[in-house]
Symmetry: C2
Subunit: 196 residues, 2 copies
């Protein structure tokens, strides 16, 4: 019965597509299972066959989005020409993201604020995302020859831009953050130039 297996896969994808859209647009708690059913076009019975509870759906949503983000970031970073451009590519990605009409802040921060204090599984998934994302940013900055302290600042600028864009609907946050990073990198190179 290969058909059954294939359809299970496609139903899972169809469900997670809908879940991503609804959870992200409306908030996780505000989205109820009936809404997910309507958006996914699948009966509740089937949804519960695929994921035994809403909590597991939340974790799957966060994980899937994380995997996609990380792959996209790796690709965009890899496509940049110079190590410094790799750092700036992170901000180009942010800028494009903020300008998507559906942008509504960081899915992991949102989930953590909504559920973190009461839902350990969600908190763990958010933790996992934050660690991997921060590790990627740090690696890109270190590979470009800057110090760990600079990497921390770059990370904070990214986090600040995402939060500010999400809460204040400020489309310029990525540009402003990139401006800060440029100054930072230039001054750090000046330091290196002085000491070498």
């Amino acid at each position: 019965m290969p058909t059954a297996i294939l359809t299970e896969e496609s139903m899972r994808d169809q469900l997670l597509d809908a879940v991503e859209q609804v959870f992200y647009a409306r908030g996780i708690q505000a989205a109820n299972m009936s809404e997910l059913r309507d958006a996914a076009g699948l009966p509740l019975r089937r949804i519960y066959q695929l994921f035994p509870s809403k909590d597991e759906l939340i974790v799957a949503f966060l994980r899937r989005r994380h995997d996609r983000l990380m792959a996209m970031l790796e690709a965009q970073v890899a496509a940049a020409d110079s190590p410094e451009d790799r750092v700036l590519a992170l901000f180009a990605h942010l800028d494009a993201w903020f300008r998507e009409p559906s942008f509504r802040g960081c899915p992991w921060t949102n989930a953590y604020c909504e559920l973190g204090p009461t839902n350990p599984a969600v908190a763990a998934e958010v933790d996992h995302h934050e660690l991997e994302h921060r590790a990627l940013v740090t690696r890109v900055v270190l590979d470009a020859g800057y110090s760990p302290e600079i990497a921390d600042v770059v990370y904070l600028l990214i986090a600040g831009a995402v939060t500010t864009a999400g809460v204040q609907h400020s489309l310029d946050a990525a540009v402003q953050a990139r401006h800060g990073v440029r100054i930072l990198l230039a001054s750090s190179q000046a330091e290196v130039a002085l000491t070498t």
Copy 2:
């Protein structure tokens, strides 16, 4: 009946003290009215006399905390000796805040993530806070002689530090952000020195 008025005031304070603690520690949606009643030591009936709905309690919580934060920031900024120290005082405040054991992220970001998409009154209150807070930061940076672009970056660093400290429980976020600001300010002064 001045006694009655006085007691109403003190009951309101007692209630809002408890509400602040419970909403902030457990999350707004996770905290139910019975919990608030227990924490405040007031009957539900009285709570509803003081605030006709949980929504109004949420807005009052955010507003009270906002007023206190702004007053504290103004005081700490005013106490600093030089304009540059006034900028750095913002980060000293962050550092102390992050190290409070009860620290659990930014109350306004938390509220916005939890309720913003579904509760216009909360969204408006968060907006109000963000605008005033950002205006204060911008004013302090401009008064120290830096450019609006620098003020934007300083603001993003503050936002990033708060988010990162909240989600990643990173106690060093304020120190890292201050490091970034120092570089930023120094390089901006160098520019000014070069052009004047």
